[in-house]
Amino acid sequence: MPEKGMIKATDLFERVVHWMLAGSCILLFITGLGMMFRELNFIGSFMGGLVGLKYVHNFTGIIFIVSLILATRMWWREAGRFEFPDDLEWIKQAGGYLWHVDHVAEAGKYNAGQKMFFLTVVGCGALMGVTGLIMWFPMGLPMGLVRWMYPLHAFGFVVLFAFFFVHLYLGTIGSPGSLPAMLNGWVTRAWAKTQHPKWLKEMEAAGKLEVYGEENKEAVSH
């Protein structure tokens, strides 16, 4: 539960869309792996056989596409565009994650690493949606086109699967205090000041910051 003085980082809609995207993505990973590796065919036995698994995969894909569209619309303004020179500086320092940096470039609502992650998810997610739909309905399309949908789908998987674990690590034990932003939406002021100092300052300056236990009529949501 949030304590007095905590800061609202995300609204309910953001968190619902995030978990729709995450849930569908994980289910797609599991079912996709069940088809990609014959050793993992047994995953289908929980879904009425491999045919059932195929349909779970295909229809979960629809949920994923819808979630991706919502997420892109919702986060594009904050996470889809780089701001120079701060973001470039952050990238040069690798955000202070890989070696010691005395003063990490100040990040806004999303730092450059999060923006790169977001853009990769949008790009590869769109690739997965388009190639997946063509793989689902290939009849009547030119063979030369259909043939390349499979390796492109596999390429998207390679990237998203690797990024998924980066995201999982940095959203939990790799950056303590981050997880609550996607659970109840409340983070500590120290966490916000460390991770997103520019955002904190801007919100406070605009009087839009929502602090637990304090009234704020200016607070905005998506």
Binding site: R147, K193, T194
Partner: protein, 269 residues
């Protein structure tokens, strides 16, 4: 006739009269319905392979460079490759290599994903939307297992079709080509690890409709199955190992303690 070792079906196109007995025998043995077609001005009927047509005589009018007219007949169907693209991509193991080296199909395992359609250099597997499954020639596997010839071979009245042990059939094909001379050639033993269906062609391969000159497993299948598939778990595993290493060596990024203190000071707590 057949023991459990590799077999080859030889199609000698120079002996084929296009009676289409093999087409009928295939439908009869495999209980495949004949569907109504339209007269297109060709004896080639139905016009293409389909879920209900696993073998087909292709009729082709050909005039060579000397101006000689030839009516070419080619029995089209699964080539039963050793390096079979369809077996390589099949996610469920429905397509598999039998004890005869041929490519069999376990209907109950097929999930109708259509991946084999795009992996076959000969465009053989066909999709039946009513059953949501793939169909293709299995070289009458159950007949082979019962020491019988495939239905098409059994029906052939001219000796254009024959089946036997691999080495013997390859030798027979080359003997026949030597007798024929000219452009006659053996098609099937030099690619895809050697196919289990072999042609004796009277013309160069590129003359024939729908017959790739030098077929191979599509590059897309190699990129997908040989490169990206192993890369997926290497990349995933690498990131997990890297994250653990980061946690141990560098440590997580915690909120700065001074941020907390500064905060309290600012807020007068």
């Amino acid at each position: 006739m057949m023991s459990a070792s590799e077999v080859i079906k030889l199609i000698d196109t120079t002996r084929c009269t296009a009676c289409r007995g093999c087409q009928v025998a295939c439908k009869q043995w495999n209980e495949l319905p004949g569907l109504r077609t339209k007269n297109r001005g060709s004896y080639q009927n139905p016009p293409d392979l389909g879920w209900n047509t696993w073998t087909l005589i292709r009729f082709q009018e050909h005039v060579n460079e000397k101006g000689t007219f030839k009516w070419l007949f080619r029995k089209d169907g699964c080539m039963h490759c050793t390096d079979a693209g369809c077996v390589k991509v099949c996610p469920s193991g429905a397509l598999y290599h039998t004890e005869y080296g041929t490519v069999g199909i376990k209907k109950n395992l097929c999930i109708g994903c259509k991946e084999c359609i795009a992996a076959c250099p000969f465009e053989i597997p066909r999709y039946n939307s009513r059953t949501d499954k793939i169909t293709k020639c299995d070289l009458c596997l159950t007949r082979l297992q019962a020491n019988q010839q495939p239905a098409c071979v059994k029906s052939c009245p001219t000796g254009a079709l024959s089946i036997g042990p691999k080495d013997k059939m390859i030798a027979a094909a080359y003997d026949r080509v030597k007798v024929l001379g000219g452009d006659a050639n053996v098609y099937g033993d030099k690619f895809l690890g050697g196919t289990h269906v072999l042609y004796v062609l009277s013309e160069k391969p590129e003359v024939y409709d729908k017959l790739p000159k030098n077929p191979s497993i599509p590059l897309s299948v190699t990129v997908w199955k040989d490169w990206l598939k192993p890369l997926s778990w290497i990349a995933g595993g690498g990131v997990i190992a890297g994250s653990l290493l980061h946690y141990i060596l560098h440590g997580p990024k915690r909120p700065y303690p001074e941020a907390d203190q500064g905060d309290h000071a600012e807020r007068g707590e």
